[in-house]
Symmetry: C2
Subunit: 192 residues, 2 copies
């Protein structure tokens, strides 16, 4: 099981965004939707061994965390709007500090990075980190940021975490997830 967690610094935690304007009204919700796609989709199948956490830091009810579980998910298509609709549904239901199911494979709770850090041994995906291809053991959980850098508070929280890079240039979070999944696929199948 591998977990990806993506911090959406401006992403609206209240579900009050338009599926017709995920970037604007959603606070770059489009990025988080693409991270769900990159985490979970194979061609004509899902990655059953992946969990994708989205951390919503925007709006008055933040933070909230939505969890997509590859082994339970149904009714998710690869397009951004499909993930956006499931996110919106999850963010609209009343929640406490425990995960509550909003749809098959989609759960939501109050709380953000601080709580999630107690549950996973994260590595940070960062272009200045160790090359993922050169590490003997791929971490079980990766933390990524959206289009914004980690805040100073977040940097303090994750400063002891190992850092891994997927390549020499700075790329989008969803592209980085795709490359980690590719490295995992290769190792499982004995490819170099």
């Amino acid at each position: 099981m591998t977990a990806f967690a993506v911090i959406g610094h401006l992403a609206r935690s209240d579900g009050l965004f338009s599926l017709n304007d995920l970037p604007g009204s959603g606070g770059r919700m489009d990025i988080l939707c693409r991270c769900v796609n990159a985490s979970l989709f194979l061609s004509h199948d899902m990655r059953r061994d992946i969990v994708c956490y989205l951390i919503f830091c925007g709006g008055s009810v933040a933070p909230k965390t939505v969890k997509f579980s590859g082994n339970l998910i149904r009714s998710l298509s690869p397009d951004e709007r499909s993930a956006g609709a499931l996110i919106k549904k999850a963010l609209e239901i009343p929640v406490g500090s425990e995960f509550r199911d909003a749809a098959p494979g989609v759960a939501v709770r109050k709380g953000g990075l601080e709580q999630l850090m107690t549950e996973h041994a994260f590595a940070v995906l960062d272009e200045k980190g160790t090359d993922i291809r050169s590490t003997e053991i791929i971490p079980d959980a990766f933390l990524l940021s959206d289009h914004l850098n980690f805040t100073d508070d977040e940097e303090l929280m994750v400063k002891e975490y190992p850092r891994f890079s997927v390549g020499p240039v700075c790329i989008h979070a969803d592209h980085a997830i795709t490359i980690v999944n590719n490295e995992l696929d290769r190792r499982r199948s004995g490819w170099k």
Copy 2:
């Protein structure tokens, strides 16, 4: 310069689709939009050395080809809807057999794979091909299919092309493009 070309077997060539329903009304237009994103986007920058061709095979005016040029593009955001809006605009203008600009960095013409094959020495991205990591020279142009396999006619047309794989499992076209771009980034920077 590297070129990616993606065949959209059902993708509507007439622009008569809704940006609110790219998968359904657009004939899986969402796939082509994600391929534009994967081809061209860096974090806070564009890949100036990439060209992405989309081949539209759906509808009565098919085939048409839309060309996104990384070195010329403006007004493109990473979300699917943004690429979809530029595609729609391009497909709605009258065209002949020569590329006509529809927006900066976005051009459109009549014609599909047959014409494009005369202009680029394509390799096919195919999970049964040679591992891209093991090849000494990365091809200059890659041909991919959307969610459907190449048709029998297309297979005949490309049967002499070299085939390369990005990994041991069957993945979405946009994910494969991301992995090829990563391999190119690594080689340019002297990463293994």
